[in-house]
C-alpha cells in the first residue's frame, strides 16, 4: 500500500499536515459508512473497504516513525533496522536507568523532566530526518538510504522511551487509587 497515493499527497517526509487533514476529511466525507446507509450492499462494502484503507493511510502518515518507514520502503530500502550506533545505545541506556529510578521513587515530576529531554532529542532527529529525506533524489541509490535509515532507528529509540513514559503515567492512575 502506498499511503501517499491513497491520500493523494506527494511522497515526502516533511508533510503539509494541514493538507493531510483536509484530504483525510474530504475522503471520509465521501467514503465513511454513515454516508452510505441508504446505498446498495455492494456499494456499502466497497466504501467500507476504502474508508478503512484511508484511515490506515492517515494513521501511517500522521506518525513520524511509520511515515519514514513507509517512505524508505517505497524508495526500495529493505525493512531491516541498521545496527545501532554504540554511542546512541549508551545514551539511551543511561536515560532508561534514570527513568526506572524515577519510577521507583514514584516521582511524576522527575519522569516528566526526562520525557521533556528525550522529546527535545526526538525533535532534533526529526528535523535531521526531514532535511535528509528532502535532499534525496526520487531514484536514490541504496547507499543514499543508509543515513535516513540510521536516523529513523535513532528516532525509534526515543519514541520507545516516550512510550515507556506513557505507560508509567498511565500506571500513575493506580498510585492514586492505592493512596
Amino acid at each position: 500500500m502506498d499511503p501517499f497515493a491513497t491520500l493523494g499527497l506527494p511522497r515526502e517526509y516533511a508533510l503539509d499536515s494541514e493538507l493531510l487533514e483536509r484530504r483525510y476529511r474530504d475522503l471520509q466525507r465521501a467514503l465513511h459508512p454513515d454516508r452510505h446507509v441508504h446505498a446498495t450492499p455492494a456499494e456499502r462494502r466497497v466504501a467500507l473497504g476504502k474508508a478503512v484503507e484511508v484511515n490506515e493511510a492517515y494513521r501511517v502518515l500522521k506518525d513520524d516513525v511509520r511515515r519514514a518507514e513507509s517512505l524508505l520502503a517505497l524508495l526500495g530500502h529493505a525493512a531491516k533496522d541498521s545496527a545501532a550506533d554504540p554511542e546512541l545505545l549508551l545514551e539511551v541506556m543511561e536515560l532508561r536507568e534514570a527513568l526506572s529510578e524515577a519510577k521507583q521513587a514514584r516521582s511524576l515530576p522527575r519522569v516528566r523532566k526526562l520525557a521533556a529531554e528525550v522529546q527535545a532529542l526526538a525533535s532534533t532527529t526529526r528535523r535531521e530526518l526531514a532535511a535528509t529525506f528532502g535532499e534525496l533524489p526520487g531514484d536514490a541509490a541504496p547507499a543514499a538510504l543508509v543515513r535516513p535509515a540510521a536516523l529513523l532507528s535513532k528516532l525509534k529509540y526515543y519514541k520507545r522511551f516516550l512510550d515507556e513514559v506513557n505507560v508509567i503515567e498511565d500506571d500513575a492512575l493506580s498510585w492514586i487509587e492505592a493512596r
Partner: protein
C-alpha cells in the same frame, strides 16, 4: 399540527436517539421543524430512572415506579445495571456493595436471581429499560424507526456487544452505537456552529469519559478518548454512604440490603442538596427501625470526592497527550453528565483546563439530543451532506503472544472503521492447532487486560516449528465493534474462522430470548423475518435504481441489463412469502453490482481528492476515461 402528524398512518417512522444511562435514561428525536427535542412522559418528565423491578407475579416495572419499590424489594429491584454490562460473574466490580442475589459466581455473564423464580442477565434488564423508552416514544410520536443508542466512549468491546444485544432484544433496529461525548459534541457543535478543538468532560452516574475532538465545518473528528468505565456519581454516593454507615451502631442493620439501599438513596439526596448549600443535616428513617442523624458539610463531601476527581484528571491528561495538545490549545471544555453539577467537580475541571466550562445545554439531556441528531442523519428524511462523525477505537486490541505478552494489533485512538492483520507462527514441531486469545486494554500482559475471546484454529498440517503462517485479521466497524478472523496461509487451504466473543449472544440466543419473553409461536418469527427481508429488498431496489439513474455514464448496456434483470428477480421474490428466496436473490443482485459499485466509489474518491464538483467529474469520466479504465484496479493500488 402535532396531533395530525401522529395520526397520519403514512407518516415516516421517526428515528430516535437513546441515552441508556447508569442512573437515568432518556429518549429524544428531531421534529420535522426545528432542533432536537426530548420525549417526555405524561408528567412532562424526560428522565426515566434506569431502575427495573421484577415482581412475584412475573410482571416487570421500569422507571420511577420501580425506584419507588426499591426499598421494599431491594433484591428484586435492579439499578445501575449499566455497571454490570459485559462483565463476568467473577468480576470484582460485580460484587461491590450491591444487594443483589447472584445466581452464579462464575462464567462470562452476570446472572441475577429475582422474584418469580427468574434469572436475568444485565442485557435483559437493559432491554426492559429500552422497551420502556421505546414505548414512551411511540406514545408521544407514533411509529418509531431505527434507534441510535449511546455508550460511554471508554466502553470495551464486551460492553458494546452487550448494549447492542440489549437493543436487539428490545426489538429495536439499532442504527448505530454512538459514543456519549461525541453525541454531546454533536448537540453543542450544531447549536453553536463553531469550529475549533474541544474537550468533552463526561461524568455520569457510573462512567467517566473524556474526549478531545475537533470541529471543522461539520466534521466532528475525535482526536483521542480516555476515561474509566467504572467511575461516576455512584462512587460519590458510595463514598458518602460508607461514611454514613459508620454512624449506624447496629451491626445487623449494616448488613441489611434495605438499610444499605436507604442509606445510598440518602447519600444521593445529600449530594444533590450540597450543590446549593454548604451543609446538610441528615435525618434518615431506617427500614429496620431507628434513625440516622448526621451533619455533612460541603468541605467534608469535597474531601471525599477529591480522589475521584483526581482519577478523572489523569485520564484527561492522557487524552490530551494522545491528541498531542496542551490545555491552552483547547477552544473550550464541554460538561456532560449529571455528576458535573457537583460544585467541586466544576472547580476541578476549571482548574485542570484553565477555562470556564460550557454548560448551556442541560448536562443530563445533551447526550440524548446528540443521539437524536445522529439518528436523524442516518435515517431521517433530510440527508445533511455537511455533518459527519469520525470516531476512534477507545482501547487497544491485541493477541496474547508467547509468554503472556500482548501483541497490539490495533492501538487505542485508531480512527474507525479500521482493519489490521498480523502474522503469527508455530513454536512447536508438528503443531496442528493455534490457540488465539484476543484481549483489549493498555497493559503489557494479557492477564492484566480484558479477555475478549479465546478460540482454536485446528487442522494445520504437521510441519516444522516456525513454518506455518497464521494471519489474524481484526476489523472494527463504525460502532466500534470487533470482528476477528484467522487463516493459515502456507498450506494453500485457507481456513477462515469467524470469532464470536464468548460474552456476546448468538442470533439464536437472542431469538430464543424473544420467544421466551413473548410466548411467540415460531410462525411469528418467520413472519417477522419475511417482513424484514421485504423492507430490505425494497430499500435495495430504491438504492440500485437511484445509482443507475445517477451514473448511466459509468455503465454499459450489457452490465446494466444484467443488473436490471436481477433487480426484477428481487422484486418478484418480495411478492412471494419465502424470506430465504428474497435473501438469495438479493445476494445475486449484489454479485452482479460489484464492479459498478467499485467504479462509483472510485469516482467519488477522485472527486474528493480533487475537491471538484460532481458535474465536472461526470464530464471527465464520460469523455476522457470511458468505462474500461474503471473496471481494473487503480494503478496506485498495485
Amino acid at each position: 399540527m402535532a396531533l395530525l402528524q401522529i395520526s397520519d398512518p403514512s407518516a415516516r417512522p421517526t428515528p430516535i436517539g437513546i441515552d441508556l444511562g447508569t442512573t437515568n435514561s432518556l429518549v429524544a428525536y428531531v421534529p420535522l421543524v426545528g432542533g432536537p427535542a426530548m420525549v417526555r412522559d405524561c408528567d412532562n418528565e424526560a428522565l426515566v430512572p434506569s431502575v427495573v423491578t421484577y415482581k412475584d407475579d412475573g410482571s416487570v416495572v421500569v422507571g420511577r415506579a420501580a425506584k419507588a419499590l426499591a426499598i421494599e424489594h431491594p433484591r428484586d429491584t435492579i439499578s445501575s445495571v449499566k455497571r454490570l454490562m459485559g462483565r463476568g460473574a467473577d468480576d470484582p466490580e460485580t460484587q461491590r456493595l450491591a444487594p443483589y442475589r447472584y445466581a452464579t459466581r462464575e462464567g462470562a455473564v452476570v446472572k441475577l436471581a429475582v422474584a418469580g423464580d427468574r434469572v436475568v442477565t444485565p442485557i435483559e434488564v437493559s432491554a426492559e429499560i429500552l422497551r420502556e423508552l421505546h414505548q414512551l416514544a411511540v406514545d408521544a410520536l407514533g411509529p418509531v424507526g431505527g434507534a441510535v443508542i449511546t455508550v460511554p466512549a471508554y466502553f470495551d468491546d464486551a460492553q458494546r456487544q452487550a448494549t447492542r444485544d440489549a437493543g436487539r432484544l428490545a426489538g429495536l433496529e439499532v442504527l448505530r452505537l454512538l459514543n456519549e461525548p461525541t453525541a454531546a459534541a454533536l448537540a453543542y457543535g450544531l447549536d453553536s456552529k463553531q469550529n475549533g478543538t474541544f474537550a468533552v468532560y463526561d461524568l455520569g452516574g457510573g462512567t467517566f469519559d473524556v474526549t478531545i475532538l475537533q470541529l471543522d465545518d461539520g466534521v466532528f473528528q475525535v482526536r483521542s478518548t480516555g476515561g474509566d468505565s467504572q467511575l461516576g456519581g455512584d462512587d460519590m454516593d458510595r463514598a458518602l454512604a460508607e461514611r454514613l454507615l459508620a454512624h449506624v451502631a447496629d451491626e445487623a442493620a449494616k448488613a441489611d440490603p434495605g438499610t444499605v439501599r436507604a442509606i445510598m438513596d440518602g447519600a444521593r439526596a445529600i449530594k444533590h442538596a450540597l450543590t446549593e448549600r454548604d451543609a446538610v443535616d441528615v435525618e434518615l428513617e431506617l427500614p429496620k427501625g431507628g434513625a440516622l442523624h448526621a451533619r455533612v458539610t460541603r468541605a467534608e463531601f469535597d474531601a471525599l470526592v477529591r480522589p475521584l476527581c483526581e482519577r478523572t484528571g489523569l485520564a484527561c491528561r492522557r487524552a490530551l497527550r494522545d491528541a498531542g495538545l496542551t490545555p491552552e490549545q483547547l477552544d473550550g471544555v464541554i460538561l456532560v453528565g449529571g455528576s458535573t453539577r457537583v460544585p467541586c467537580v466544576r472547580a476541578y475541571v476549571r482548574e485542570l483546563f484553565g477555562k470556564e466550562p460550557l454548560d448551556s445545554i442541560d448536562p443530563d439531556q445533551v447526550v440524548a439530543l446528540g443521539a437524536a441528531i445522529q439518528a436523524d442523519l442516518l435515517a431521517g428524511s433530510v440527508q445533511d451532506e455537511q455533518v459527519l462523525l469520525l470516531d476512534v477505537l477507545p482501547l487497544s486490541l491485541g493477541i496474547e503472544a508467547m509468554g503472556g505478552v500482548v501483541e497490539k494489533i490495533l492501538p487505542r485512538n485508531t480512527p474507525i472503521p479500521a482493519a489490521a492483520a498480523q502474522v503469527f507462527t508455530t513454536y512447536a514441531e508438528n503443531q496442528t492447532g493455534f490457540v488465539l486469545h484476543v484481549v483489549q486494554g493498555e497493559r503489557e500482559t494479557a492477564e492484566a487486560c480484558r479477555s475478549l475471546a479465546r478460540f482454536t484454529l485446528r487442522g494445520i498440517p504437521p510441519m516444522p516449528a516456525g513454518l506455518a503462517r497464521l494471519e489474524v485479521r481484526f476489523e472494527v466497524d463504525a460502532d466500534g465493534l470487533l470482528h476477528v478472523s484467522a487463516k493459515e496461509l502456507t498450506t494453500g487451504i485457507e481456513q477462515q474462522v469467524e470469532v464470536k466473543p464468548s460474552y456476546g449472544l448468538s442470533d439464536e440466543e437472542v431469538e430464543q430470548m424473544l420467544l421466551d419473553a413473548y410466548d411467540h409461536a415460531e410462525s411469528d418469527v418467520t413472519v417477522r423475518a419475511l417482513r424484514e427481508q421485504r423492507v430490505e429488498a425494497e430499500r435495495i431496489a430504491v438504492a440500485t435504481r437511484s445509482a443507475l439513474d445517477q451514473d448511466a455514464a459509468l455503465i454499459d448496456g450489457a452490465e446494466r441489463a444484467e443488473i436490471e434483470a436481477k433487480l426484477a428477480a428481487v422484486i418478484e421474490a418480495t411478492r412471494g412469502d419465502n424470506h430465504h428466496v428474497i435473501a438469495s436473490r438479493i445476494e445475486e443482485l449484489d454479485h452482479v453490482s460489484r464492479n459498478f459499485a467499485g467504479r462509483r466509489m472510485d469516482r467519488s474518491i477522485k472527486q474528493a481528492l480533487a475537491g471538484q464538483k460532481l458535474s465536472d467529474v461526470e464530464r471527465e469520466t464520460a469523455h476522457a476515461e470511458g468505462i474500461d479504465r474503471h473496471t481494473g484496479p487503480r494503478k496506485d493500488e498495485e
